[in-house]
Symmetry: C2
Subunit: 96 residues, 2 copies
């Protein structure tokens, strides 16, 4: 699936309620889902990890719809290797 | 760009350092980037919003690589409308 297709799916499925909820509460939901990823990482359950990472991706697309951001274009920054050093693999000085 | 292509790009660009950093510190970076989205939402700067949402997407793909999750498959849950009610647009009772 294209990144733009996911964002379009989220628009078709959730835009009306995303707009009703607004940017602030949508951001809060995104953070809540990030918390669920934190919890899923404690468990060796591949299905649960997939579920929670997918939810973060979905809420990120919802937030992008409200914030006027094209996620496809946002991802393009990574298409030619590391945006900082321009290399693939990245050759920046390592920062943990 | 396909979601799987972005994840593959992140693997080619960052997997070695992602593995060296580990899941915990990669999750911390993801949260730091979510914080940068929070800040970008305070400003009417479309480029900055795109940049920060793109960084969250990228770190999410890095984390997925470490957690053994296929983001493409994770996103597929949303392909046929809301995973809860099965409708597009979503017809679940509204929750802010």
């Amino acid at each position: 699936m294209e990144i733009s297709e996911l964002q379009e799916l989220m628009r078709a499925t959730y835009l009306e309620r995303d707009e009703r909820r607004g940017v602030e509460a949508t951001f809060r939901w995104l953070v809540e889902e990030v918390g669920e990823v934190a919890r899923a990482l404690r468990h060796e359950d591949p299905g649960r990890r997939e579920h929670e990472l997918g939810d973060v991706l979905a809420w990120l697309a919802s937030l992008a719809n409200l914030a006027g951001v094209d996620l496809e274009q946002a991802a393009a920054r990574y298409a030619d290797g590391c945006p900082k050093c321009g290399e693939m693999p990245c050759a920046c000085p390592f920062t943990p």
